[in-house]
Symmetry: C2
Subunit: 349 residues, 2 copies
């Protein structure tokens, strides 16, 4: 049966190609070939490039620098960060938001920042296929959360991953951050707009949101605004509307708006997108768009310097370090005093 | 009326004392006098000492080192970390737990690690007086969350705050960390036992807990196990009991136990405390107690070194830095390449 034979032939061909790509990713990429493939929009190359920039090994800094140099961002993308406590439905909203965007013709990349998955990746329970539909779409790229050992590492890889996605032609970059913690501050400094997601309901979840996080938000979404949750969503929206009055205006000059959104029914999504487009327009005209991007470049340099400082000094620990460590372990010296002594030793040979 | 006069006199005396303490805290403390007052158990001195160690200014390193040297930990305390998503009722549980302990004769210190409150302190809504009853107790010290600018800073100040509390004679140190994020990893490495708090109920909150966090827990508390929540708490407890089977045994050698606790009714609190005492006993006998403390001293040295490295290098930025920054701002150089160039310049004059 020719059709069967041809199907077998195709399967063998696919297997060969998969094997080749595996070998390539393990051995054959150079910064040049990888940058080229990224700029051509090859998704496997993009995934591989992001894996490169996640490395915190000092010996990899050269090739990361070359790769980033050869795959520059086009700078025409829109970068949006999403945060909210677990259960706010971030992935669900981002998938719907992303699908709407690809259907409008955009190319969408989704990145996740999750510094808590240090030892093992992903959620313990219920980590079903994430953004199943969006990740199958030819114009979308969904990157699962990085499992880097440090927040610095996660931060660096995310800011570089954004650049690589842009180099690969993605023009809408959605960055998801896990609920509460330092990761929000970091992600805020990498995106053009920051969306805080809430779930309507009792006081508990409201109390969990810190003032600092609300201050960082350009938009607030009260999510899962559907069926019997509408009333509690309205209560939450109105409590936050009140609370926003006591906060200073965001540096953008645009007031923080609150949207009630359901990703199940789709209600609220068009208004959310319209508002985002309006903000982009306003900020481009006011100059805030460029000002913020410029500030963020400086923040990125500072972040990189901190991270590189630690990588360069802490990766190869000297004999001096080991001697100090032995004293600390025996209880003869305090961790603080010994660390301080080490930092003030002449650095590097 | 003598009683009124004497009350006025007392009020004036209190005001004078408050003023004196304010002046002292602003000007007069030396590492020696502060360490002395801390070791005497003066609460204001302890608060002031913790403020000292929260400083990330390189010029303050000397006095921090002296203070820590002069106020050493007695090493006889029990340190317990608590984590859980917002709404799990961490403060409520800790207050009840702490009150039970002071009533047993313990001296209890509560510290909070909250890296998300960067710009402003505390929760936006509903941040009522925290642990009102416990903080009034003469044998308790409740320190609100630090508002340090860096996670590193928070981490350092917490590990030093633990030491200072121990120097002041507190023998039960409770460290609260905000739900999800890197802060848990840091706090885990400062405490003898780590308690993960859950609320019973739907799948959402369960999904929010990362495997890495569950792996770090020595005990799991399903909180708010009361009245009509009992059934959902039982479901959550049993789901986690199942899930624990797929995880490796904790390095302590003791299986992670799950407790259903209500801080409203007090149910489950005695069992929780008994189990904590039993773990301490077992670990002291097995040697895990000492092994873990020793490991943590080395981890603290590593953490201090990273933090000091950054403070020493990033606080006073050189002319070189400013030149590189100008190039980055103009878009002539990438943040990564410039940061790298700076890190490889000869360090310090």
């Amino acid at each position: 049966m020719p059709s069967n034979a041809s199907s077998k032939h195709r399967a063998r061909k696919r297997a060969r190609e998969a094997a080749r790509s595996l070998i390539q990713s393990a051995h054959a990429w150079t910064p040049e070939s990888l940058a080229h493939a990224v700029c051509e929009g090859q998704r496997e190359a993009l995934a591989q490039a992001i894996t490169w920039v996640e490395s915190a090994h000092p010996d990899h800094q050269d090739r990361i620098e070359s790769l980033l140099h050869l795959a520059p961002s086009q700078g025409r993308s829109l970068r949006i960060g999403f945060t909210g406590i677990p259960g706010a439905g971030k992935s669900t909203l981002i998938e719907r938001f992303g699908l709407d965007a690809v259907n409008r013709g955009a190319r969408v990349a989704v990145l996740a920042v999750d510094p808590s998955s240090r030892r093992t990746q992903g959620a313990l329970l219920g980590d079903k296929t994430r953004m199943h539909e969006l990740s199958k779409h030819p114009n979308a790229f969904v990157r699962p959360s990085a499992a880097s050992s440090t927040l610095g590492g996660v931060a660096r890889s995310t800011s570089e991953a954004i650049q690589l996605c842009e180099a690969a032609g993605y023009d809408l970059i959605l960055v998801e951050t896990v609920g509460v913690g330092q990761s929000e501050v970091t992600v805020r400094s990498m995106v053009d707009m920051f969306v805080l997601m809430l779930i309507g309901g009792a006081g508990d979840d409201v109390q969990g949101i810190k003032r600092g996080v609300v201050e960082m938000a350009d938009l607030i979404v009260v999510h899962k605004a559907e069926s019997d949750r509408m009333a509690s969503c309205r209560t939450t929206a109105s409590a936050y509307r009140q609370a926003l009055h006591v906060l200073p205006q965001p540096p953008s000059g645009s007031d923080t708006e609150i949207f009630m959104v359901s990703s199940m029914t789709g209600e609220g999504h068009p208004e959310l997108w319209q508002h985002i487009e309006a903000l982009r327009q306003t900020w481009t005209e006011s100059g805030w768009w460029q000002t913020q991007r410029q500030q963020q470049r400086l923040e990125a340099m500072d972040r990189h310097a901190r991270q590189l400082l630690i990588e360069s000094h802490m990766h190869h620990k000297s004999e001096d370090w080991q001697k100090l460590e032995a004293e600390v372990q025996r209880g003869h010296a305090s961790p603080f005093a010994s660390a301080r002594q080490w930092v003030h030793l002449p650095l590097r040979p």
